[in-house]
Symmetry: C2
Subunit: 146 residues, 2 copies
DNA sequence: TCGTAATGTAACAACAGAAGTTACATTTGA
DNA sequence: TCAAATGTAACTTCTGTTGTTACATTACGA
């Protein structure tokens, strides 16, 4: 299948909250920006809250806001919060242990894929929501360079 | 979903062919090592052949073998051959262009994710089937270090 | 030249995870 | 006490992956 897009949505949400910092933002409003259903957004907001990245207020005037300064939320934080499976998946069934290659390949693949995933994580950890917001505003406002 | 495991299977196949270099290996034999159906294996072998990594012979005594020396096949080659989608997926629907963040976020995410994916690819390009075979044999034979 | 055992591929079923949707209990400020 | 929000469960829909069956084609060797 297409693998899940929760990280992309999570970053979209965090960037929106960053843009509107100080305000209470509703899941409905966010959903209209992401173009999806508010429940989908609340599901992801729930994960972000569990990870300590956002806070919510119930009730009539409730909504969501960031729990930290925007330059202290990295994409790695968002990634960890929404737990998308491994970047490179293993087969469900274990290989045949009676085959010389089958016996050792899974372990070798795990080591290798973990290693590759680690460099991805390192890169994600160096990018913050502040960076993304900058980039988005740069595009949206298409500010002149002189 | 769990995203597809074709890269893992492809590496398993290539490593097996490397181990048995010089011989004609059948899809049935490979399937019994991977613990799956021969057709699944042939599908992936087909992709590997299209990428020039393996060759096949039809007919009674047919089978498969590597098309290149094992230290000249990188995991990046295998990755390109089996085309697993992007490591980090975008949502199917475009965000709302009438929202300031929605308007720019997709572009920013694409740039960012491409960047992250690139470091993964760089790492994959530095690992060859020869490396994997070494690692597997190291585990399987659990060779003493003295 | 004929049988055997392989590739090559189409078609379909089974399965699983993601995303969308509806419904509703709960909360809280005005 | 009403209105509007969160929080969550349950279910549906969709889509891609994997597994399976079936069969045409190929080519070696007896």
């Amino acid at each position: 299948m297409q693998s899940n897009s929760r990280l992309a949505v999570a970053i979209h949400i965090l960037t929106l909250l960053a843009f509107r910092e100080g305000e209470q933002i509703t899941s409905e409003y966010i959903a209209s920006s992401v173009m999806t259903n508010p429940v989908v957004i609340r599901r992801i907001l729930g994960m972000l809250r569990k990870a300590g990245l956002v806070t919510s207020h119930k009730g009539n005037t409730g909504g969501w806001q960031l729990a930290k300064p925007i330059d202290q939320i990295s994409l790695l934080d968002a990634h960890a919060a929404v737990k998308p499976g491994p970047a490179i998946a293993l087969p469900l069934k274990e290989p045949n242990a009676r085959c010389c290659i089958g016996k050792g390949i899974r372990c070798a693949l795990i080591e290798t894929f973990d290693d590759v995933e680690q460099v991805m994580m390192d890169r994600l950890s160096g990018i913050t929501i502040a960076d993304i917001l900058n980039r988005v505003e740069g595009v949206s406002l298409s500010q002149p360079t002189d």
